[in-house]
């Protein structure tokens, strides 16, 4: 069910199929609006804007130094359901989920790596204010130096289709490809490394897990502490104690694993 919803949302966010055949990106007005998830607007199929790319574009523009439009949008989706979009809607989440199904030894990432997301967030909100070009326009630092979503969704298909872009390969492309390949390999051997370690959108949405309108609720009266939910959690949380953790992507595997019905989605 989750895979189906993830696939449908990925198709809807990348509905401009002709773009993959022509190597051109969509230029319609729907790109005024952000999609709830990491989906690069330079992906040939993208029909909406990536909220993280859009945030950097506004912060780095000559006219604005902060964005009410994007932060308001992220606040809306976060306060509605926290990181539910990470588990059910984000196309890059689906990409990592598919890679994680490749049989291999699975590794646990050290817990401290989760704090690297804060560095990503600083790159998004402060980076474009500090690193500016000659005319004062900010650089989208996270997109430029880190984000593997742009490399995989935009860089790879566009450079395959457009020889003129291929001719401009340089150090940056090599650097970004290295990060992308690393994320791909890590996604095979560890569950959702990008979401756990690098994603600034997931970090912001995670702050809302505690207060969101729709959230996971544990009925402690029914809970027998059997540990099935903890075993099922791909993020390595203990759902009984950490239902509102900022790391929880609300995939609902804990809810499905619970044989007592102690874990439920609620608006309490």
């Amino acid at each position: 069910m989750r895979g189906l919803i993830q696939s449908i949302s990925a198709i809807l966010m990348n509905g401009q199929i002709a773009g993959f055949l022509t190597g051109r990106i969509y230029t319609g007005k729907s790109k005024t609006f952000c999609v709830p998830g990491m989906n690069c607007y330079s992906c040939p199929g993208a029909v909406g804007s990536c909220p993280i790319g859009a945030l950097q574009a506004v912060v780095g523009s000559l006219k604005y130094s902060y964005s009410l439009y994007i932060m308001g949008f992220i606040m809306m989706i976060g306060s509605l359901s926290g990181r539910f979009v990470c588990g059910w809607i984000c196309p890059f989440g689906l990409f990592q989920d598919v890679l994680s199904k490749i049989p291999s030894p699975k590794w646990k990432l050290p817990k401290w790596t989760a704090y690297l997301k804060y560095v990503s967030l600083l790159m998004v909100v402060i980076g474009p204010l500090i690193i500016v070009n000659k005319i004062g326009m900010g650089t989208p630092v996270f997109c430029k130096w880190i984000c593997p979503v742009g490399t995989i969704e935009g860089g790879v298909p566009l450079t395959i289709m457009q020889p003129a872009l291929r001719a401009q390969f340089g150090f940056l492309f090599g650097w970004k490809m290295m990060i992308a390949v690393l994320v791909i390999i890590m996604s095979v051997v560890s569950y959702r490394p990008f979401c756990k370690v690098l994603c600034p959108l997931g970090l912001i949405l995670g702050w809302f897990n505690r207060i969101s309108i729709i959230k996971l609720h544990v009925n402690h009266e029914n809970c027998t502490s059997c540990g099935l939910c903890e075993k099922a959690c791909p993020i390595e949380l203990n759902p009984v104690e950490e239902t509102t953790s900022i790391e929880c992507i609300r995939c609902m595997k804990c809810k499905n694993a619970c044989c007592n019905g102690s874990i439920e989605l609620s608006m309490k």
């Binding site: 790109k31 330079s42 506004v58 964005s67 308001g72 306060s79 984000c147 742009g150 860089g155 959230k215």
Partner: protein, 41 residues
């Protein structure tokens, strides 16, 4: 309750941002290939 407050606040901020012209900046950026994003620029 806090969730509802933040949802409404988010909606208000989104409308304020849209009305001060941020959406045009987003559109302008999104309809051109972002060379930084794809690792060229």
């Amino acid at each position: 309750m806090k969730g509802y407050v933040f949802f409404i606040l988010g909606a208000v901020l989104t409308i304020m941002g849209y009305s001060r012209g941020e959406a045009a900046v987003v559109l302008k950026k999104a309809i051109r290939i972002c060379l930084e994003c794809i690792g060229i620029g």
